[in-house]
């Protein structure tokens, strides 16, 4: 029993890490440019598909992850320069509509090129085994690596944002846009880089998630909504908030799906529990978000805005 | 005699900043009470407390004897507490005429009702009242103009016109002369004399000292969130503390 709980706990953390990577980009883009990017899920999906592509080209799993991330970075830059930058002055509704259009294009393109059948990108042999952990649990090596890589990237992101000049500009831009432009910084370049960075994170997450979820059209949308929930719960524009919220969401979602049915069976019949369980599990995260929006709309770890 | 408006020991603080400290103020029926003070003294905060947009940390607001602390802004507005805004708040998407008309309809039926869904209340019903208002406030020629095409002076006049139409029991004028040329300001002051003075009690927040001494029956001086003194214009003008605190900021005594 303990090992089951511990395993699901780790799965929850792993989901949380993936969500963090996506949400961090989303929240950065929203915080700095006030832009709602619905196509962020599609960038996640492209990361997975690019990884499949590069794996077939290079034969190396690890190289393919790296290349995929870089490819999505480039894609992000292209998107920002060609399209996204025209929309900063527009309303949020326009952001939603245009990026919705991008989702349609992305999903169809992927079907055209790879077909709509899910692709199972395999776990590399080196990571196919189990790793013995404390409490007598054996945890899949690959998932453990995902957690570690995610944490490393998170750390790098922290260093970037907190300790570098670019990071300072990003932080300043998030809390006071006007200030930054007055500083004479090349705002366009900053925005492009921020968008591309967000894309990179999403693409990396997608590439790593490929072997765990199956690679298929529309795989971005489920993660997208969860990521928005994370962003809102954590606080718009706040990366620390995104981390905390991602962990909470990842754990609640995973543990809920794993255990809610059993917990409910102690109070209602197994049949009812079998229906209510999964339903409630899916809804939990949204109920949490609705509650946070109601009682603490600024999020768990909001940015201190100085307007 | 009850005062139409009474503020009792109002204190407001944001974080570590004390915007208002134990402010007391009374407004009598039919009088014009001016609130002056250097920038940052807390005048706007006080107005926000009055209108309900801000909850004080302590203290009470009495409106004609009633404690209005718990009332939201629109409820206070329905009780007759009307205010104008430092930055004019007008409906930009409709003409001057339609702005005032909406205000008149709001006066008569502020709440949501089923009949509202079914029709447009006949506008000829308000036609003569509207015409009078436009004439009084010098806006007849501009009736079919959009607010964005109005001069600043006209916009201020429109704000005042809308304030009047809501049948106010008290009027809060928040820097109505801000940004006006001397000529426009003088005109607006005479408008206030003609249409409002003696009729509706007014709390006037202003920097223009000529206008203040012209219009006010009583003046409260606010400095650093505290009331320095309250008195007649003469008393205020002669007070050395006021001159010291205020004169260092303003030149036009």
């Amino acid at each position: 029993m303990m090992s089951l709980i511990a395993e699901q706990l780790l799965n929850g953390i792993q989901l949380g890490i993936l969500l963090f990577l996506i949400a961090a980009g989303l929240t950065l883009i929203f915080g700095v440019m006030d832009f709602i990017n619905l196509s962020h899920g599609s960038l996640f999906m492209m990361g997975a598909y690019f990884s499949v592509l590069f794996q077939s080209l290079t034969g190396s799993f690890f190289l393919s992850i790296g290349f995929a991330a870089i490819a999505v970075f480039g894609l992000g830059m292209l998107l920002e320069i060609l399209l996204v930058r025209r929309l900063y002055a527009r309303s949020h509704l326009d952001h939603v509509l245009v990026t919705y259009g991008l989702i349609l294009i992305a999903n169809e393109s992927v079907i055209l090129i790879w077909g709509s059948v899910p692709i199972f990108s395999g776990i590399p042999d080196a990571l196919a085994g189990q790793v013995p952990l404390p409490f007598g649990i054996d945890y899949p090596a690959y998932r453990l690596v995902v957690i570690l890589v995610g944490m490393l990237v998170g750390l790098l992101l922290f260093v970037l944002i907190q300790k570098t000049r670019i990071g300072m500009l990003v932080r300043a831009g998030a809390t006071n846009r006007i200030m930054v432009s007055v500083l004479g910084v090349n705002i366009s370049l900053l925005y492009t880089l921020v968008f591309a960075l967000g894309a990179l994170l999403a693409g990396l997450a997608g590439a790593m998630a490929g072997p765990i979820l199956s690679v298929q059209p529309g795989m971005g949308e489920t993660v997208l909504i969860l990521s928005f929930v994370v962003v809102v719960i954590g606080g718009l524009g706040s990366i620390r908030g995104a981390l905390l919220a991602a962990m909470i969401v990842g754990l609640i979602d995973t543990m809920g799906r794993a255990f809610l049915r059993d917990i409910l069976s102690t109070v209602v019949s197994p049949q009812v529990a079998g229906e209510m369980g999964p339903a409630l599990a899916s809804m939990l995260v949204y109920i949490l978000m609705a509650l946070i929006l109601f009682f603490r709309p600024e999020g768990l770890l909001p940015l201190q805005k100085r307007n | 005699m009850t005062h139409i408006l009474k503020l009792e020991d109002i204190s407001v603080s944001f974080g570590g900043i004390h915007a208002l400290r134990g402010v007391n103020l009374k407004l009598g029926h039919g009088s014009i009470h001016a609130l002056i003070g250097p920038n940052g003294a807390g005048k706007t905060t006080l107005v926000s407390v009055l209108s309900g947009e801000l909850r004080p940390n302590s203290g009470r607001v009495y409106f004609d004897g009633r404690d209005v602390n718990r009332m939201t802004t629109h409820v206070r507005a329905r009780l007759g507490l009307t205010r104008t805004y430092q930055i004019t708040a007008l409906f930009q998407h409709i003409t001057v005429w339609e702005n005032i008309l909406l205000s008149l309809k709001a006066r008569d039926v502020p709440e949501v009702s089923a009949t509202q869904l079914l029709r447009v209340h006949a506008e000829h019903f308000y036609a003569s009242e509207l015409a009078d208002i436009l004439k009084d406030f010098g806006l007849e020629e501009k009736a079919r103009v959009m607010p964005s095409a109005l001069s600043h002076g006209d916009r201020r006049r429109l704000e005042l016109a809308m304030a009047i139409t809501s049948n106010p029991t008290i009027l809060l004028l928040d820097e109505p002369l801000a940004g006006l040329s001397n000529a426009d300001a003088a005109e607006l002051v005479s408008l206030i004399h003609k249409r409002l003075k003696g009729d509706v009690p007014i709390l006037l927040i202003e920097h223009d000292m000529d206008a203040v001494f012209d219009l006010a029956d009583e003046i409260t001086v606010l400095v650093d969130g505290k009331v320095l003194m309250t008195g007649t214009p003469e008393e205020v003008r002669r007070s050395p503390e006021v001159q010291a605190a205020y004169l260092s900021e303003e030149d036009d005594f």
Binding site: G101, Y286 | T73, V120, M162
Partner: protein
């Protein structure tokens, strides 16, 4: 534009809206063409209801399709229980959709901006997952609806022409009602609340109550669209309430022209017809529709209604 040319436009648009379907069916000799136009009419009602709160109320709801789904399921449940009379089904749909909109509205209208968009999405998702996971409603696969709505003696809901007439009449009524509400005193207040909330409050308007009323009305009309959808497709599926569907409704509104009186009609017909034509060429039609949508948003913000207005004003000038 004078009042009489306004009435002319209204008559023209509404007449065209219900007449184009039969015209195509007669000319092509294919009565099944009517189904496409029924779908367009249904989308027009749903879009009009969204336009009311979005274009006039300024509320960007990303969960409006919930009411479509609710109306559909409510109708289906009743129909499958052999309760097919419109006199029972419609009031039920109105009650269900209205209650849901009231509940959701009480929560979401405390927020604004991005938060509003996100929370409407979240609450819609809650309902969606409920629909997906409950086997009683058919779960993920959805629920077949075995009976269409009956109205009076002699009305055969399975006769193509009579059914089209039924859909057209209900849709016409809804569009007229929505337009009437928009032009009423209430509609003007709703717009005022959007234009300058500060001034609206200062006038004594309870902005929250006004928005809530609009929100509930919009939900009810969208529910009625769901009622029609249940009849038309004879199927209820969670997909009708999905966020993708909500996105579609937003697309239809923007295509037609946000905040215009007949934008939803133009947008719905354009969307459904475009989808129908494009999908007959290729199953990959979204790849054409995506760029089209982006171009419309960037360059054609006034939408089709804007184009029509230009046409009309040109004609008026030459008379």
């Amino acid at each position: 534009m004078g009042a009489s040319s306004l009435r002319l436009e209204t008559f023209a648009v509404l007449f065209a809206m219900v007449a184009v379907g039969p015209a195509v069916a007669i000319v092509s000799g294919d009565v099944y063409q009517l189904a496409v136009f029924e779908r367009a009419l249904i989308y027009a009602v749903a879009a009009a209801s969204l336009n009311m709160i979005l274009g006039f109320g300024g509320m960007v709801s990303f969960g409006h399709a919930v009411y479509l789904g609710l109306g559909c399921y409510a109708t289906g449940v009743l129909a499958n229980a052999d309760v097919t009379s419109a006199w029972i089904q419609l009031p039920t749909v109105i009650a269900v959709a209205g209650l849901a909109a009231l509940t959701i509205g009480l929560i979401v209208l405390r927020t604004s901006g991005v938060y509003f968009i996100m929370i409407t999405l979240a609450l819609a998702q809650i309902f969606y997952f409920l629909a997906v996971s409950s086997s009683y409603f058919g779960g993920d696969d959805g629920m077949v609806i075995y009976e269409r709505t009956t109205l009076l003696e002699g009305y055969d809901p399975f006769d193509s022409w009579q059914f089209y007439g039924f859909v057209a009449v209900v849709a016409l009524f809804c569009i007229l009602a929505i337009n009437h509400i928009i032009r009423s005193d209430f509609g003007r207040r709703l717009v005022a609340c959007r234009e300058n909330t500060t001034r609206a409050t200062a006038l004594g308007f309870n902005v929250f109550a006004i928005r809530l009323t609009g929100f509930v009305l919009a939900g009810v009309f969208c529910g009625i669209a769901g009622f029609l959808l249940a009849n038309q497709t004879e199927f209820a599926t969670p997909g009708y309430a999905s966020w993708q569907r909500s996105g579609e409704l937003l697309v239809v509104v923007i295509l037609g022209g946000v905040g215009t009186r007949f934008g939803p009609v133009y947008g719905a017909f354009a969307f459904v017809l475009l989808e129908s034509v494009l999908s007959s060429f290729t199953s990959h039609w979204p790849i054409l529709f995506g760029p089209f949508l982006i171009l419309v948003v960037i360059f054609f913000h006034q939408g089709l209604a804007g184009l029509v207005n230009q046409l009309f004003s040109v004609r008026v000038k030459t008379e």
